[in-house]
Assembly symmetry: C2
Homo-oligomer: 343 residues x 2
DNA sequence: CGAAACACGGTAAACGTTTACAGACATTTT
DNA sequence: AAAATGTCTGTAAACGTTTACCGTGTTTCG
């Protein structure tokens, strides 16, 4: 790990000035002979450009940060998987921040943009507070938010459409003849929780179904809690014939509990999840799920940010990615295999 | 996004020299009055230290890179999830590289250490080639490899123990009375593929079971291919009564195909996966799986690297993480729910 | 053949920090 | 009262690049 060669070392060895070395290395027009000498010296010394010095002078780090709550969450993971290759192709490295949905951590990340260790930031906050908005207004580098920010916030914004997503699912269940459609939601003080709750209510209304408090159960966004929530729900409203779950993990919990309670899926109770994660296809019965386009949102965010990094300074843009219902065995029933291993 | 304040700006405003500003900002002993003036100026200006300039001078970036084949792979994800918080707690940022298991990309990453944009690297290569070893020998920053490198390679090394892992699984299947135990493996030219193949053979031998070529099927490490492999296997060896799958995705494919073929799991065919990913618990029937301790390996690697960054220059270390068999419905049978929704 | 145009490469400043060194002043010691 | 000590702060160099500017030597043209 001895100190590596610098352009000064090369300059001495090649018998030219550091300016010439730099020019050659950057492909600026230079006499053939000089190019040859410099290249030879660089090769012999195993020279590699120092990215830090380069960044200092050029004011470009070729790094972009992505900040989300938790890599373990498949929705964020899907974003990450799209963001990474887009950035890589454009020559940017990816700095990953996991904030555990702690607001202070997110604010920290925004603040740290001032350190200028990245050229831009993609952030997917669970909820957007006033502190967020303040920091966003003063951000020292371009930011793209995956989520929803108020009109007038000076950042690009890639949105999911939970409302339509929930409607797709509820309409689907209704079309299957279900009339006692329950909602198993996450905390209503998160953005997803709130919007999905409202969308459920709206969807019922449009279908002319009554809204029944007994059919709404709140837990968190995880499997065990989801299961517990469904257990309570079954107690309170035993005639439920469909579950709209606010994410796939909750739905998985629901499947566990329904199975234990002897309810058949989908014959007795149809189940729809949300986010269309890998788990949905892996579960048994496989889970119908509403994709909110995490992957597409990640890709769109990365592309928006790249535009900004290339100097685009048009007004902030808003992109909304349409949801998609993926029908599988937990609502369709008649497709391959729901009879299980009993042929 | 106007040019932010620098220590020069602060120095002017506070009426002191930049050296004093730097000293105050770094908490070096300074007169109270000066501290006050500098702090006031810094606050008013909303000053944030420039990380790039800092790194250039101090030769420390406080960044660490993690390079693996694919974030989508749950095993790597488990590592990442452990690595991230350890680094964060130590004040390091995480730069993520996804190499798609392309050797040239991995070499690139090693080469790029010369750019000095990170202080160290954790890498989990699918296979270790001569090119890797050369680069490792000349690496310009501390490297920890998650995987297996030959004796004498000058890097720390965190290993899984596939051999014991496979043995655990095969022994388990044998103890359940299975005698026609097949292996569904990935490509034998990858390290996992090769070692799991060898370990399977060895485990059979120790149990006094014959090795039967018909019982070994090779695909890749993904679900669809895994399914296809199992279909072929069932054709060739219809009397198979247990499947040892080289990872969970293959095992999921196996479950699909077994179900379609009308074989009951685990009554007719027991199935064991490997890596113990989230999918194993989510599938139906839930999947017994051998954990190779991805999470533990990630954590160990991060800690090893931090030691190096703190100046530890002892001889290269090797840590081996023991595997663990997690028994679920796909081999245990009698536990909750394997009767499916038929109560 | 002298001037103008040009190609090339060297000198030096800049990016924003940290830090060795020395100077200025106040305080203590002899 | 002079010398010695100590505390604080300013000057300047350094980290490794990029790049504006200028000088030199060659070519081209009137």
């Amino acid at each position: 790990m001895a100190d590596g060669p610098t352009i000064t070392t090369i300059a001495e060895r090649a018998g030219v000035s550091i300016a010439s070395v730099s020019r050659v290395l950057n492909g600026l027009p230079t006499r053939q002979e000089t190019v040859r000498k410099v290249m030879a010296a660089a090769d012999e010394l195993g020279y590699v450009r120092n990215a830090v010095a380069r960044s200092l002078k050029s004011r470009r780090t070729h790094q972009v940060a992505f900040a989300m709550a938790d890599v373990g969450n498949p929705a964020y993971l899907a974003m990450l998987r799209q963001i990474q290759p887009v950035l890589k192709a454009a020559g940017y490295r990816l700095v990953l921040h996991s904030t555990d949905a702690v607001v202070a951590d997110e604010i920290d990340v925004l603040h740290s943009l001032g350190e200028r260790y990245v050229d831009g930031l993609i952030m997917s906050p669970l909820r957007v507070t006033d502190a967020h908005l303040q920091m966003l207004a003063a951000a020292r580098a371009p930011v793209v938010i995956i989520g929803t920010v108020p009109e007038g916030t000076p950042v690009d914004n890639v949105r999911a459409d939970s409302r339509t997503g929930v409607k797709l699912a509820v309409d689907h269940l209704h079309a299957l003849g279900r009339r006692r459609i329950a909602l198993v939601n996450g905390p209503p003080d998160t953005w997803p929780g709130a919007s999905r709750g409202a969308a459920y209510r709206e969807a019922l209304e449009q279908l002319g179904l009554p809204y029944d408090d007994d059919l709404v159960q709140i837990g968190d966004f995880y499997r065990a809690q989801g299961g517990r929530a469904v257990a309570e729900l079954l107690d309170r409203a035993p005639d439920v014939d469909a579950l709209m779950c606010a994410n796939d993990l909750i739905a998985l919990g629901a499947l566990d509990v329904l199975r234990a309670a002897g309810r058949r899926v989908p014959e007795d109770v149809a189940v729809v999840g949300m986010d269309d994660t890998d788990l949905a296809a892996a579960s048994w019965p496989s889970l119908s799920s509403v994709s909110l386009g995490s992957a597409e949102r990640g890709k769109a965010a990365a592309e928006l940010l790249l535009d900004r990094l290339n100097g685009d300074d048009a007004a902030p843009r808003v992109i909304t990615v349409p949801p998609r219902l993926v029908v599988r065995a937990s609502t369709a029933g008649e497709t391959y295999g729901h009879e299980g291993g009993r042929t």
